[in-house]
Point group: C2
Chain length 422, copies 2
């Protein structure tokens, strides 16, 4: 393959990558030495380390600690241009990406890695009362709500209304829900101690609500049980086997019972980016693209789909929507594009499952790696080291470790600053 520098930019194929998350960024990086020019389009200016997003929402980290500008990450890769823009639609027959600012990009190969957003299963009116957590703006908004609830409780003279401000519910017992519930209980019991005069923050009720039979359903049953016990030790009430049937500004319905709660967080469902629908291919129930084994969109050989937007089964089980799977897909798509340009056949994608980690709260986590199962303090250390290791940027790692060391010794959280307006 000739070096990129020896070819004029207009002679090489144009690869457009939509989305600067794990899948998109890893695809771009995998094409660093390919004779292509790349345009990476993202609606934000940054790559986000999503596994630590809940830490921004719970005031442990600040937004820049877990994000880095895409331009900066890719500044040394000369064959890529970063474009900050929202994508309106894809027009496969004309091989065009249509931008919301009116611009258009013509592609030879398209990598669609636009990810997912939260889904309310047909109850979109819940969105206002039970925000979800996908972006940094979501996290800052959630942080604001969680911290304000204690402020409102402190100022509320009526005991029943005060109790409603101190009642929190997290809907969805997956990794995000478990992380949020455990950390929120820690904040109420430890971080805010002695700071209020009219309320006892430790009296706050934190409920984690899972409609299925157990939390962390992606883990073996014994680890789910460990997680439940660790959550309860932190002060979380865990409810399983019953779904939330209504949510409004005053509380929620769990089965027949109405529970007053001014703060409800949605961690229950994700839906694919609406861009998938503009491809003109059949989608699955969650709106994702059922891709071919090589990650091509069906019947669209110049379009690859990677990350949370791709629906794929392997050995009878779906490839999970986690960061390692997205990175592997991104890398595979880069290989596939290089193979196609060289006239070689494209190998099918194989997801390699290196294991599954979830953190629960202070010194509590579960780890499942092949036959190894850990829970408690040891699992927490494992989780911490793995996450700090995978953070992009030397500075971020140092700052995050410093914040955690400080938080461990003081029970404090560095980012308890309320930003924005109602």
């Amino acid at each position: 393959m000739p070096a990129p520098d020896s070819i004029s930019p207009d002679q090489v194929p144009h690869v457009v990558v939509i989305g600067g998350g794990f899948a998109g960024l890893w695809a771009v990086r995998g094409l660093a030495r390919a004779a292509v020019r790349i345009t990476l389009v993202d609606r934000g200016n940054h790559h986000l380390f999503q596994p630590l997003l809940y830490q921004v929402a719970t005031a442990g980290l600040s937004a820049p600690d877990i994000a880095a500008p895409l331009r900066h990450i890719l500044r040394g890769q000369r064959n890529v241009e970063v474009r900050m823009a929202a994508v309106r639609a894809i027009d496969p027959p004309r091989r065009r990406v249509l931008l919301e600012d009116g611009g258009e990009l013509i592609y030879d190969q398209l990598v669609l890695a636009a990810g997912a957003t939260h889904a309310y299963f047909g109850n979109d009116q819940w969105a206002e009362h039970a925000p979800g957590l996908k972006t940094l703006d979501d996290a800052l908004q959630l942080r604001r709500r969680l911290l304000l609830a204690f402020e409102r409780a402190e100022a509320e003279p009526d005991p029943r209304r005060r109790a409603a401000w101190l009642s929190f519910a997290i809907v969805g017992g997956g990794p995000t829900g478990v992380e949020l519930a455990g950390t929120l209980a820690e904040i109420a019991r430890h971080t805010l101690k002695r700071e209020f005069r009219n309320i006892d923050p430790a009296a706050a009720r934190v409920r984690l609500i899972e409609a299925g039979p157990r939390v962390l359903a992606g883990f073996p049953e014994d680890l789910s049980e460990q997680a439940r016990r660790q959550l309860q030790r932190l002060g979380v009430e865990v409810s399983t086997g019953q779904a939330v049937t209504a949510i409004d500004g005053e509380g929620y319905h769990l089965g027949e019972a109405f529970v007053p709660a001014r703060t409800v967080v949605w961690a229950a469902g994700v839906a694919a980016s609406p861009l998938a629908a503009t491809l003109g291919v059949p989608l699955d129930r969650a709106g994702r693209v059922p891709v071919q084994p090589d990650l091509q969109a069906p019947g669209q050989p110049e379009i690859f789909v990677a990350g949370d937007l791709a629906a794929l089964e392997q050995d009878g089980r779906p490839v999970p929507g986690v960061a390692p799977a997205a990175k592997q897909m991104g890398r595979h798509v880069a290989h596939a594009i290089r193979a196609r340009l060289a006239g070689r056949t494209i190998a099918p994608f194989r997801y390699r499952d290196y294991g599954n980690l979830a953190t629960i709260g202070r010194m509590a986590a579960v780890v499942h790696l092949g036959r190894l199962k850990l829970s408690g303090v040891l699992a927490w250390w494992f989780w911490l080291l793995a996450h700090v290791f995978f953070l992009i940027g030397f500075r971020n790692r140092v700052v995050v470790l410093l914040n955690w060391t400080w938080a461990y010794w003081t029970y404090q959280r560095a980012a308890r600053i309320i930003l924005g307006r109602d």
Copy 2:
């Protein structure tokens, strides 16, 4: 004086302090051992280290690095209750503070330390096009605008419009304007190097516009001249002696000439908090309260005014609106309230001027302490140490020093994350 614990809360005088800035917070702390109960009211939940606010706006620091929750700072001071609320008005005849949430506080002594906001000298329509910098939300909004301007320029094919996106103006040559202009020039010339493909960020024009004859008018003339030279070395065009006469979304008028500029920042004027007007006393032209020498509001012996809201002359010169003056005033008010409770006479306030520092950009600053005048690298180190020393909280100091060390070696800025929406 009896220990506070021996007195029932209802028997001791109630001191209400409005504003958790330097003046208000230092007043509260000065009353730690007084037999009073204190309510500190602030519309935010945090104390802000305002001297470093420009660093948040220019993406060098994140919001939580320069702020700490008021509750946390004061958790050990048992005679104070923190109330997060906006104040609507003061009702001196009934000794009441009226809150926007409908609540009321009855005071025996009131400390008004609500600070200042930006003023457009009767041109309020400029606010939309030329935002100012007083709060963390202002800083995040400004950061967004500054970073987005380069993104828009990169995506703009028309050369004239692209130039307008790369044209920046800072109106006002005081310390904030100088800091913003110097840092912005550094970002354009160094931080963004190699990151864009269609524009050269170093071609950005950064103009600092001062209507008076020189920048940093609070400093001796030779230091102003030094500051101007250091700014020019960093790439800032310094304009003095001419006022901006109009600002809109496309640019601004400087005298007769129209200058295209999509990003204009207002650092030119401050106006007192509108709460001053509800006191029912005569105000000065900037809306501040001309206080008596002991910081009492004229004719209102139970009301003290401290910080930027207080207008006071000393030895024929106004006490400046800087952090050290606000702290000294806060401390004085605490003394005055304790003296009054003990039946002693209240001494007049004396501002002690320990000197004046302003930073300009990378390794550039001016320092004026009595007969000592410094500029350049040495002044910058002095400025840095002084500011880190006065930051509240051990963790903040470590993180800020770490960020600056990193920024110094890499020319990078840690917080280049665009948050929020248009």
